[in-house]
Subunit: 424 residues, 2 copies
Amino acid sequence: MPNLSPHIQLEGLNADSREFGLIIEMMGRLKACLLDGTTPGAEFTGWLRLPAEMEPTLDRIAGMGRRIAAESATLVVVGIGGSYLGARAAYEALGRGLDGVELQWAGWSLSPVMARRLVEALDGRDYMINVISKSGGTMEPALAFRILAQHAQTRYGDAWTERVVVTTDPAQGALRLWAQDRGVETMDIPSTVGGRFSVLSPVGLLPLAAAGIDVRALVSGAGDVQRGAESASAEDDPAVIYAAARCVMEQRGRCVEVLTLPGPELSLFGEWWRQLAGESEGKNGAGIWPSVLTLTTDLHSIGQYLQDGRRMIQETFLAFEEYDAEPVIPRSGPVADGLDLVGGRALGLVNRLALEGTRDAHRAGDVPGTSITAHRLDPFCLGQLFYVFELAVALTALFHGVNPFDQPGVEAYKKGVRAKLNSL
Amino acid sequence: MPNLSPHIQLEGLNADSREFGLIIEMMGRLKACLLDGTTPGAEFTGWLRLPAEMEPTLDRIAGMGRRIAAESATLVVVGIGGSYLGARAAYEALGRGLDGVELQWAGWSLSPVMARRLVEALDGRDYMINVISKSGGTMEPALAFRILAQHAQTRYGDAWTERVVVTTDPAQGALRLWAQDRGVETMDIPSTVGGRFSVLSPVGLLPLAAAGIDVRALVSGAGDVQRGAESASAEDDPAVIYAAARCVMEQRGRCVEVLTLPGPELSLFGEWWRQLAGESEGKNGAGIWPSVLTLTTDLHSIGQYLQDGRRMIQETFLAFEEYDAEPVIPRSGPVADGLDLVGGRALGLVNRLALEGTRDAHRAGDVPGTSITAHRLDPFCLGQLFYVFELAVALTALFHGVNPFDQPGVEAYKKGVRAKLNSL
């Protein structure tokens, strides 16, 4: 049986209100413009067609992934922001596949502590490096690559460049030039795809292929949602409904959105979404502030605030229909914990019930929102979810009247840092 | 030279305004009441005196830590919320010490994926278990303990209970009863200390001691701030100034606080703070929503929102005066990255300058806030920071007129989940 498409349910919101209907209609029109390439930032909407466009490249990506796995135990992914969050989200959620390499992450901070821990982790392990940067000039990955290049040269001698794959702009930038010059293997980042929308390009797919994850299924899941988005009417499109619900709630003062995830294996998916939403929508003095709640740990943390704090929160539950059969909770335990009623049940069932109970409690506690439910946690469904959230965030930003695909505010920080460095 | 105490600096806020002076004065009075035990929730202010009260117990904790490290490679810490976040924050920030065990974390979610990964990680490693729960009846750690007890019994036979240390209420609860009955080693959680204020009790100290971290220095740092708080006038107390600044900014519409951390090794410190603040303050329809920004990765993520989004954010920078000398950035790299000006410099210096440049950019971009600067990232200074943030959060909640030490909203979720489980 094929995987089902994600579906969406409103929680504490009236779908039949005139206000909601109007916004759905408006979102439907924005979607048509987005697909037609007639919105602001249309030159960066190549991500919409990635599922079909990656198809011919998947064999090469899978082959390169196998080669990396054959020659190394670890792949060090060097990238920041959109250049690592999507791959890391999928890797954490799905785990390393059979015969896949372990992934390590570099260049996503300037922390000397993290840099030292990474180098220690590489001791005695054969590794390869995938350096990912569209421009080739972003500071964090560039500095990490200096440190790693030195390490690799010491370890592997002049042949170290054979252990590098560069993922960068097809035509320009410092990394492209270097790779051409040294005959280093490269993958292209399509010039019409921005960092935070790039997980289904070689940026995300190559590390995941090396880790033994089924990237064909991932892309196929995204393609499933793409086809649905192209054909479905607005009121049947989960991305449209989600975007409309977010905007309705924001208009009612719910300016903070909490994405509630079913388990810590999805925390990095939350970080991916936080970048996608925050950087696409946080412009022109507006936007919904994105925050993440991980079940059930954060119920013993910010859960109190949701239930009882300032009424400015809207909540989006991410759920899966199927749950894992293993492990099973032992029928009895050493301690009189009062939990015999769940003995013999799958822990995943209890986790599901905890999500449902939380949803009931938050709805009763006046936290409106939506639930997005996918079939199960596998590459196909994760590909679906990447695409649903990308589409919904683009629509939300367009509804706010901003370009979803630029990031003018990031330049301000880069300028501030550059001024400090120049004072050295 | 001894470590210096943390100091605080206002960013884009006028310290001389009458409004600010009044709130400082008010906070000073609240602090006096808190220390006198005359505020709401005074029965849960034992954390204020933990540094002095832990002193006589430190030898026993350190000894038990050494025994754990001698008999096992891994200590599995079973706990959720305040029962694990403080220890995990310190462990991630400081790293495992010489001759310390690796720490693994269980019972902080109901995720079957995380449960399976944990059991895989234990394969072939000798381990001990520290189960931490005040009541002994919290669902997540109780279910994790059932699974681990089964695993340990299979691995170690009936002697498995010799590999368990229970940290719980001194007198009551299911775990206390079981430990008494089976002669299992125990540590006490003082009954006047709530979970999110317990990191400087055996809850946090035992796992950290086992991991080879200097818990005496940690407690001593907290004691340094405690003595300062008892003697300093309000306008010289960093916790008072921080609490006052937060409340002034909130009154001006800055209802979301971003705690900006210098590197990913402090992300878990951010999670610890998010629980501390969210659960203490998010009550009665009020409170500041806590969010975390990790440098520099999140500048390529929600940094855009801070700079350009809705003007509802206040920002708190956590910084350290000293930075690590290693690693040094190689003077040249393979790629023409335009970064030769930082070649030969410590990566930690560039990280510091990135923080300063970001602070300048955010201040210029109308994000007001504070900087809290500690001497360096070590156990003593981390102990100082735990205490400063605990005190500041308690004062903020009291200023809002709520009890900082209860969590009525958490009960709503527990009730919702219980209803679902009863329907099984």
